[in-house]
């Protein structure tokens, strides 16, 4: 017996929206980064599943997955380097402390600390 394709797609969709939700609500830069990784991984699942079930005669989807994994590793590396640089400058990585750049008229937004 074989699993249907829909099961995989449901999982990848849940991962995508969990990632979007996390990106919007998390207050810690690393948690935001993890949410983004969820999005990128859901894409990898999608490509692999489409390739395996719908177009098994060629390998385009698998190759795209390989490249996407490599590129997302680069992105994480650069993002973490920048986050470390922020830590050196202001000694923490809470999103609410990234308030140097903003509209001059807006008030300081105060967010809850989570994670």
């Amino acid at each position: 017996m074989e699993l249907h394709m829909e099961y995989y797609l449901v999982i990848s969709t849940i991962m995508l929206f969990a990632g979007i939700y996390g990106f919007i609500t998390r207050r810690n830069l690393l948690a935001v980064l993890i949410s983004i990784e969820l999005i990128l991984n859901s894409v990898d699942i999608n490509f692999a599943v489409f390739n395996r079930y719908l177009f098994p005669e060629q390998l385009e989807g698998f190759f795209f997955t390989l490249f996407a994994i490599g590129v997302s590793a680069c992105e994480t590396a650069v993002a973490i380097a920048i986050i470390i640089n922020i830590y050196r400058n202001i000694r923490n990585i809470q999103v609410k402390n990234l308030n140097e750049l903003k509209e001059e008229t807006t008030d300081k937004a105060i967010g809850n600390e989570r994670i």
């Binding site: 490249f67 990234l98 750049l101």
Partner: protein, 473 residues
């Protein structure tokens, strides 16, 4: 595998050569010889531009992965010229004590992003497009965070990379759905599989986010003012012109070639995106005091105008878009050149600081004035002609209401562009920015930009020679 395929990628190979030469020079050059790093970089990029100035005919290599058109070649030349101008303006900042140790990195990272844009422009497959997009946007974040000891710069870098990766993740999700419904990633084969089913519509909207982010069109524009303000001025100039120009061109090519069967749907989406971009950005720009933030909003509304060339879907729209990018590049780089020089000499960046600049630095004020006039679209400067052509292309397809709204917005934009001109020429100031002489590189780049602004519109050969290579849907 035919290795001769590599020789077809002329522009990319010559750019890689430039990067490798600069890398070796930076690593092995003695401290004394590194004094000549800046002129060497400029000369090498100049040679690279001259070698590729005449666009080669259409080329397809690697089984369709790489597809270069003559129009893409024109666009690549324009982007390289812009990069050269940015290099000339960056010298001031890079020779300062803090940045000089990392000077070589700036050139290499910038050229690496340019290489990514080249690949993006001549992609024939979504995999190639994706790799190009990421090669262009990941190093850009490191450029934004280049001033390591400034909190603003680090913050700009973080904001850029997080939103960039988020946008490209959504874009990838869209591409995966397109792959799932059509079974291919090649631009050539996808149109046959598109039938505007709801899933494909969703896929297209997701895909649009990625390039909309790079272009900073309105629903995806939130990062723009912050990153533009925090990044070093030369990086802001690069970001606002080169990155945006390449994204506009690629979006147009993909919409024309890949999403041609969905033309009604994407035109409807673009219609509202254009109105929102132009109008909202203009309203926000009025309130800005910081010049870099001001130009961020100005660039968002300019991106809306650029999209007017895309929505028409004709060869004329394509010519208009490339010409608009060229003119916008010259005008914006002239403005940013002045901002960079003034910031370097006096550290001042708000509009009020520019009060009375004319009394002390008349020539800089004059360059800034013609740049702003060109951005606002006042004849006889080139900006007028670029707006004219792009409006004509959209009106030809019957978008009269859209063109009318865009016209109204040029009047609003005139108000805030003139605010800067008024500050420089009319407002009195007890202590204006002191008189100074700018260095030769900045001066040369400003002269090139001003000459371009004055001549690109009047000499019809510029528009006509771009028009020779354009194609419609």
């Amino acid at each position: 595998m035919v290795y001769a395929n590599f020789l077809l990628m002329k522009e990319e190979i010559s750019l890689v050569t430039v990067i490798v030469i600069l890398l070796i020079y930076d690593i092995f050059g003695s401290p004394k010889s590194l004094k000549y790093f800046q002129p060497t970089a400029c000369i090498l990029v100049g040679i690279h531009i001259l070698l590729n100035i005449w666009p080669s005919p259409d080329v397809t290599a690697f089984g369709g992965m790489y597809h270069s058109t003559a129009m893409g070649g024109v666009m690549k030349s324009i982007l390289s010229i812009g990069t050269l101008l940015v290099f000339m303006q960056a010298n001031n900042w890079l020779s300062s004590e803090r940045a000089i140790i990392r000077r070589g990195e700036f050139y290499m990272i910038t050229l690496a992003t340019l290489l990514g844009m080249y690949f993006m422009i001549s992609a024939g497959n979504f995999l190639m497009f994706f790799i190009g997009l990421e090669t262009a946007s990941i190093p850009m974040a490191t450029l934004a965070a280049f001033d390591k000891y400034k909190q603003k710069s680090a913050e700009a870098g973080a904001k850029y990379i997080l939103t960039a990766v988020f946008a490209s993740g959504l874009s990838l999700y869209g591409i995966s759905l397109i792959y799932g419904t059509t079974g291919t990633l090649y631009f050539e084969d996808i149109p046959a599989g598109l039938n505007s089913s709801p899933l494909q519509m969703m896929a297209f909207v997701f895909f649009f986010v990625g390039l909309g982010f790079k272009l900073s069109l309105v629903p995806f524009h939130q990062w723009t003012p912050d990153v533009y303000e925090g990044a070093p001025t030369s990086v802001t100039a690069y970001l606002s012109v080169i990155s945006k120009g390449s994204a506009a061109f690629v979006l147009m090519v993909i919409l024309y070639k890949v999403f041609a069967p969905l033309v009604n749907e994407w035109q409807a989406i673009l219609y509202w995106v254009i109105i929102a971009s132009i109008t909202l950005a203009n309203i926000f720009a009025i309130r800005q005091q910081n010049l870099k933030r001001f130009f961020a909003y100005s660039s968002i509304s300019q991106a809306g105008y650029i999209m007017l060339g895309v929505i028409s879907g004709t060869a004329m729209g394509m010519t208009g878009l490339v010409y608009y990018v060229l003119v916008y590049m010259l005008s914006n780089l002239a403005a940013f050149g002045v901002i960079a020089v003034v910031e370097h000499r006096s550290g001042k960046i708000t509009i009020d600081d520019y009060n009375g600049l004319y009394t002390t630095n008349p020539r800089l004020s004059f360059v800034m004035m013609i740049a702003l006039f060109s951005l606002a679209g006042i004849p006889p400067f080139a900006g007028f002609f670029s707006k004219f052509f792009i409006f004509a292309a959209a009106a030809q397809q019957g978008y009269y209401v859209l063109v009318f709204i865009a016209l109204l917005n040029t009047i609003i934009s005139l108000y805030y562009y003139l605010r800067v001109v008024k500050a420089m020429f009319i407002n009195k100031n007890e202590q204006p920015i002191a008189r100074f002489n700018s260095d030769n590189y900045s001066r040369a780049s400003l002269v090139v930009c001003s000459a371009g602004i004055l001549l690109a519109g009047i000499l019809s050969i510029v528009y006509e020679s771009i028009g020779m290579f354009s194609f419609g849907m």
